[in-house]
Amino acid sequence: MDFSFTEEEERFRQEVRSFLKKEITDEFLRDFEERGEFDFCPEFTKKLANKGWLAMAWPKEYGGGGATIMEQLIFSEEAAYYGAPTGAYRQGINLIGPAIISHGTEEQKKRFLPPITRGDVVWCQGFSEPNAGSDLASLQCRAVEDGDDFVITGQKVWTTNAHRADWCHVLTRTDPEAPKHRGISYFLVDMKSPGIEVRPLINMLASHDFNEVFFDGVRVPRENMLGEKNQGWYVSQTTLMGERSGIAFPTMCKRLLERLVEYVKETKRNGEPLAHDPRVRQKLAEAAVEIEVNRMIAYRVAWMQHKGLLPMVEAPSSKLMGSELWKSLTALALEIMGLYGQLQLGSKFAPLRGLIARTHMYSLGITIAMGTSEIMKNIIAIRGLGLPRG
């Protein structure tokens, strides 16, 4: 058993750090914070693409860097630490890209993959519907065959970045008579197609990331179907298993904890630094332990993928822990900061430029998106422990 990285891997880590330190300066972060963007930054995507690191772990034949899973892990870890904005490329690189690599035709790979690797295209995900959340397979958005096209009619919801996206990967029902998992087809849809309407969904912080997307008789050519007709569900399962270490969570938590440690050392309450309060010490130490535990499970998931194993239970476990930890740590930060914790960007009194208020509010969605915590537990229980379905 060996928890160290190789010399080459350590050298790579240093290279990544230098790059990120140079690009993600405080000024850079302030700049795009002021624009109201906290994660969506096509300029940063381009910088990564120019460095050849955007599709780092994809095979070289598809424009990727041919890097190992461990190198991808190292990059993701450092990127999360420095707060790199990944929102503009996450869908393409982590989700639809790998699905196209696994299930696409040669023509689809040639057409769709290079723009992703160059950072030239933004994708959004047309999966969830008002009546199909956790029970995604019950989706109703219809695709009807019509000559060389399919015609899509229906509604998608919780579509992050639909208002900024060039393409959307959409799950539709092509056979309403078949059992629900076997009547689904997967399409790659140009967001400029006639018949698409995007309506904003505003979150609790008055931010616009989510959307409803209405498809009204949208024509999609047959060659934009990913995988076989009625096999879309199985293709999408690849999508949902993309880059799954979950290393971003414990790393973001680590950074936040460092900031909190500084904060409690500098901040006094009743004449004493918060750092002397045993309750604060215990809670921050507990967080440090959970962060390390989370980091280790993320490493194990990456290790399994590196060996070609499917982290069937470990990946959900990592997501569950990471998302819940992010939520509870940002909550702890809010608690520790007391009245100041609630201040948002824009107030001169806001600690860390309103980081805590913002990150805690956003954390609410993370235990829900990409598989709710409850669903993650179901997977562990049923697939991991072999418990019978209810």
């Binding site: 750092a275 215990q282 332990v289 989370n294």
Partner: protein, 377 residues
């Protein structure tokens, strides 16, 4: 990075599991914990024949010269099966400090005996002050001619009632810094002036009160340097804490497995209780705590074996293992329902040990304070 055990370690694990399952079924566990000695001399002899006591002792002293990680594999299996007896105290609290700090003479005298199963050891560290910090050591050792005379009381000393030797942590000098002025003594069990009484504990793990009244110990029995014993204790504690975590993870896994099996079999309302989501969520939580515990414990073990600064990692591993084992054991009892609360049911064996393991070498609050200091707070 390589997060797998070696083939040899996997083989050690399998053979240990087979041996323990065969030799020490739960009926015997119950017998032994209620017996006076608290262990089976027959199993002890067999373990010695397998080379277990000498696993990490160098070959020149009769050992197998294997790695700390190998010992951890063995301890995990012991935690899983439960094997009452003085293996942990003899090897981890006895052999390791002698290896680290013993003179050549002391090593030649004691290590072969330990490897052959001819000597039972323990460390007498904690006192009624009930802390693992140096300030808790008040038992005095006063120099008198070619001996030292020990006076004081030790409490929570495992296996003192059967120990052939106790490594007694004593104060030889008072000063401003409590970590200065501590000396370790190799004390023969049954020395005049020693009274040992087993105290009843939840886990029936033979913890003892040991009273030292004018106990004479020859100078040659000083282990390490005079007044400079605390670093040996610290290092032993680090190894012992890590080793205990491995035992705990093994125990927690066994408790989890037992509970999952029960949830699949027990039928109420016409269906296995494991088909109810509340039970499924508990079991998923339990699984996560154990699975994640393994990663962090192995990381701590690796760090300690590599000789890297490990204070933070060890404290994190113990902090996590404490909460994980207690959680799994408590949920385990709950999911078993009323039978889980009986003496006869196996889940209770693990519940009791979860608490004993939590408290030894520092509870979670203690570990978190260690981490807090490492964070710079």
């Amino acid at each position: 990075m390589d997060l797998d055990f070696t083939e040899e370690q996997d083989m050690l694990r399998t053979s240990a599991r087979d041996f323990l399952t065969t030799e020490c079924p739960k009926t015997l566990v119950r017998e032994l914990e209620e017996s006076e000695k608290g262990y089976s001399p027959e199993i002890w002899r067999k373990m010695a024949e397998l080379g277990w006591m000498g696993l990490v002792i160098p070959e020149e002293y009769g050992g197998m010269e294997m790695e700390f990680m190998d010992l951890v594999v063995l301890l995990e299996e012991m935690g899983r099966n439960i094997i009452p007896g003085p293996f942990f105290s003899t090897v981890v609290l006895g052999a390791l400090p002698i290896l680290a700090a013993g003179s050549e003479e002391q090593k030649k005298e004691l290590l072969p005996k330990i490897a052959e199963g001819e000597a039972i050891l323990t460390m007498a560290l904690t006192e009624p002050t009930a802390t693992y910090e140096a300030g808790g050591v008040k038992l005095k050792a006063a120099a008198e001619g070619d001996s030292f005379v020990l006076n004081g009381t030790k409490l929570f000393v495992e296996n003192a009632h059967i120990a052939d030797y106790m490594i007694c942590v004593a104060r030889t000098k008072d000063g401003a810094d409590p970590e200065d002025g501590i000396t370790l003594f190799l004390v023969e069990g049954g020395s005049p002036g020693i009274t040992v009484e087993v105290v009843p504990t939840i886990a029936l793990d033979k913890q003892c009160e040991v009273v030292f009244k004018d106990v004479r110990v020859p100078k040659k029995n000083v282990l390490g340097e005079l007044d400079k014993g605390w670093p040996i204790v610290q290092r032993t504690l680090e190894q012992a804490t890590t080793a205990k975590c491995a035992e705990m993870i093994g125990g927690a896994q066994a408790a989890l497995d037992m509970t999952v099996d029960y949830a699949k079999e027990r039928v109420q309302y016409g269906r296995p209780i494991g088909s109810f989501q509340a039970i499924q969520f508990d079991l998923a939580d339990m699984w996560m705590k154990v699975d994640m515990g393994k990663n962090i414990v192995y990381e701590a073990v690796w760090s300690v074996s590599e000789g890297l600064p490990s204070t933070e990692k060890v404290a994190m591993a113990k902090g996590w293992a404490n909460e994980a084992y207690k959680f799994v054991a408590e949920r385990g009892v709950q999911i078993h329902g009323a039978i889980g609360t009986t003496r006869d049911h196996d889940i209770g064996l693990y519940f009791r040990r979860a608490w004993a393991s939590d408290l030894v070498f520092g509870n979670t609050e203690f570990q978190r304070e260690v981490v807090a200091r490492q964070l710079g707070l």
